[in-house]
């Protein structure tokens, strides 16, 4: 993982609501940063400090939390820099309170070689404003045929192995890849859509799809692979994370597997928490995502899964597309929507509309992904990297695609009213975003 090198000097926060899900901390107080790391934290820290001291940031009661870790970010670098670079994505991340982007290997070329992991880390170090943790491909060229050099890729800095939005269709290949990964203690991140069932489909099979006359695939295409992979995890003992799930059936299967003690975790995208299939409306291609939006019952199940803790992380599934790929008839348009800047607001929606506790939602964006991926951040503990977000969980705003920081503007939330977003973002104690 890359990040700005630790800055010397001190930075102090006072009068904050400190929320650290990793240690169940939710208290008013202050925090001190030294040399890019958290040096001290406590309820009375800087209470009596001079309010006019320029070295001290008065948080005015806003929430100071660990910076967000977004476990599912597609960028266009290398290969599609016209859509998004590590730099432009990191601008969006900083504006969204995301201090670590976990980037997917679905680039051109595919990140399936140690030298390419090294390339990502070097480019990130040179150009990105936030930390970048690369996942490497699970199979060469994402073809689902030959496993990658997981040991060498881990040594190069890959934090997990995934074919991104591709499912490894061949169960034997998947079994061997999981088995091999288990020997290295590597995390495998799977995508659950039966390749043959979803081939050519644009949305979920339903009355809506029928009326729209769009090629569709059954929602069950997800649980078929979830069930298969859970059995393979049982067989191999590999650590497995479902990058994102979207259906009640998948949620139930994973809940059962967790109850049986299998080493599995899962994520959900902000899109599948907020939107359902009807939001596709009049062939609105910015809401064509992978997996496709589901029925309302499945969306409600995703919210329930986050509330109950069966779903471990919320991700943006940030996937930049341009006019060339999105201004197309729905069936021909590309999948994907950007989401780095709307991840936090969409997640906070669960607090406002579903009664979720703020620390619980922040946990899915900080401590939980850090634990799954073995990253150093995601906590306010002393000694941890000073990756922080200062957020106002109540500030209302309307998503305006023209104001997004990412190079690509294909948001699925255009015109949507949200409450709560990042005010300031710090990476290694350095301010990388401040809302004017």
């Amino acid at each position: 993982m890359t990040g700005p090198s630790g800055k010397t000097g001190r930075l102090a926060f006072r009068n904050a609501r400190l929320i650290d899900p990793a240690s169940n901390l939710d208290v008013k107080g202050g925090l001190l940063v030294e040399n890019g790391r958290i040096a001290d934290i406590g309820p009375r820290l800087f209470n009596d400090a001079d309010k006019n001291d320029p070295e001290i940031i008065d948080c005015r009661g806003l929430v100071l939390a660990p910076g967000l870790i977004d476990c599912r970010v597609f960028t266009g670098e290398p290969g599609s820099e016209h859509r998004e670079t590590l730099h432009s994505a990191s601008e969006a991340a900083a504006a969204g309170g995301v201090t670590t982007m976990v980037v997917m290997p679905n680039t051109d070329p595919v990140i399936d070689e140690p030298s390419l992991v090294d390339f990502i880390l070097r480019r990130a170090s040179a150009t990105a404003k936030v930390r970048v943790a690369p996942m490497a491909a699970l199979t060469r060229k994402l073809k689902g045929e030959v496993m990658t050099e997981m040991g060498l890729l881990m040594e190069a800095g890959a934090v997990a192995f995934t074919d991104g939005d591709q499912t490894v269709a061949n169960a034997r290949v998947m079994r061997r890849a999981l088995s091999y990964a288990a020997g290295f203690g590597a995390l495998v991140v799977g995508h659950a859509e039966d390749t043959d069932l979803v081939e050519g489909a644009a949305i979920t099979e339903s009355e809506f799809a029928t009326r729209a006359g769009l090629p569709a695939a059954p929602a069950m295409a997800e649980v078929i692979i979830v069930e298969r992979d859970l059995r393979l995890v049982e067989l191999t003992g590999a650590r497995y994370h479902f990058g994102q799930i979207s259906t009640r059936a998948a949620l139930d299967a994973i809940a059962k597997a967790k109850a049986r003690g299998l080493p599995v975790t899962c994520g959900v995208s902000a899109h599948h928490l907020i939107l359902n299939e009807l939001d596709v409306g009049a062939y609105y291609t910015f809401r064509k995502v992978k997996p496709p939006l589901r029925c309302e019952a499945d969306r409600a199940a995703m919210v329930e899964g986050v509330m109950s803790g069966v779903i471990d992380v919320i991700v943006s599934s940030h996937e930049p597309q341009g006019a060339d790929t999105k201004r197309q008839p729905f069936a021909s348009a590309a999948f994907g929507a950007v989401g780095l800047e709307t991840l936090l607001p969409a997640a906070l929606n669960l607090c406002h509309e579903s009664g979720a506790a703020l620390p619980h939602i922040l946990n899915t964006l900080t401590a939980s992904p850090a634990r799954i991926l073995g990253l150093a951040g995601g906590t306010l503990a002393k000694g941890a990297p000073a990756d922080l977000v200062l957020l106002d969980e109540n500030e209302p705003f309307v998503v305006d695609e023209t104001k997004l920081s990412s190079r690509a503007r294909n948001t699925a939330f255009e015109g949507r009213r949200f409450q709560g977003r990042a005010q300031k973002t710090f990476v290694g104690g350095e301010c990388v975003f401040s809302r004017s």
């Binding site: 030959v146 496993m147 040991g151 088995s179 091999y180 288990a182 191999t236």
Partner: protein
């Protein structure tokens, strides 16, 4: 020539595997083989023990060292040796294994040495033939003379197997050498470790009385003997292992990994080696640690002992 030991040297008229042998059988064969080491080092290496007997080497899989080792063993004991390889046999013309057995049986050999790609082939032939059958490797099942020659090589250097830590490293999944060695070494009191990527460890192998390691550095810690296995070329290109370079980095024997073993640890390999895949050249060629050439020499002696034992009949 030693006189016959008190008990029978083999429990049956065949040698199909280490399975079925007892520790005393193994010890008896190793003792007998010692005399053939001496005989093979003498100027006149030949005796007439098997004079007039016919030995057929039937190899369905290509093999240089095992086939020539058996041929030499038979000839040094005075037997008539016939080599049949699959390319010249009628098996390639569609004959079944049973038909081949019946044909060979009619030629009245005394001993058939067989190597076959399928596990259980030697067993099948032994049921159809009147002569003694020696398994020279069947599929991923057993290769008993390899395990015996490995044991002889180890015993000449370490005197006793009791408590000896032997790390068998590499493609356990497809290896008959590993299976025979696990059986033999465990039976003789050695502590056997297996070191391999998970993809090359067969299911349930942990129930064979061995310790399993997927980290070679940990697996070699304090080992007395490091036994490397050959990784077949077709298995290092993705299906089981992602690449040869990754395999060598994590499971190939180099100086760094060998340094974890006990000082003076010895290295073995059944051959033929893939240098730079499972073993580095400097170790393979280092006569202070590598027993690889000695294994080949012990191979002839062990096979002479086995042929001798079979010619004596059985209990």
């Amino acid at each position: 020539m030693t006189s016959a030991k008190s008990g029978p040297l083999l429990p049956t008229g065949n040698l199909l595997g280490i399975e079925g042998l007892s520790a005393s059988h193994v010890t008896g064969l190793l003792d007998l083989a010692e005399t053939y080491v001496a005989q093979s080092r003498a100027p006149d290496k030949k005796t007439a023990l098997l004079k007039g007997r016919t030995l057929i080497n039937l190899f369905f899989e290509a093999s240089t060292r095992t086939q020539s080792s058996f041929e030499l063993a038979g000839k040094r004991l005075g037997a008539d040796v016939l080599n049949m390889s699959v390319k010249t046999s009628s098996v390639s013309k569609g004959e079944t294994l049973i038909d081949t057995a019946a044909t060979l049986n009619a030629m009245r050999p005394d001993i058939l040495v067989v190597r076959h790609q399928d596990s259980g082939a030697a067993e099948l032939l032994s049921r159809k033939l009147d002569c003694s059958v020696v398994n020279a490797g069947d599929g991923a099942h057993e290769h008993p003379t390899q395990a015996l020659l490995d044991a002889l090589t180890i015993r000449r250097r370490r005197k006793s197997f009791e408590g000896l830590v032997v790390a068998i490293c590499g493609d356990i999944l497809h290896s008959r050498v590993a299976r025979s060695n696990i059986r033999l070494l465990s039976m003789m009191g050695a502590r056997v470790r297996l070191v391999a990527p998970r993809t090359l460890l067969p299911t349930g192998v942990d129930r064979l009385g061995v310790e399993i390691f997927t980290d070679m550095q940990a697996g070699l810690k304090d080992a007395d003997i490091v036994m490397m296995l050959r990784l077949q070329l077709e298995r290092m290109t993705g299906a089981f292992v992602p690449s040869a370079r990754e395999y060598f980095r994590f499971f190939g024997l180099d100086r760094e990994k060998l340094a974890r073993a006990r000082p003076g640890a010895l290295v073995m390999h059944p051959g033929p080696m893939n240098r730079g895949v499972e073993i580095s050249s400097d170790i393979a060629d280092d006569l202070d640690v590598s027993l690889i050439a000695e294994q080949v020499e012990m191979g002839v002696a062990i096979r002479m002992a086995v042929l001798d034992a079979l010619s004596r009949g059985f209990a």
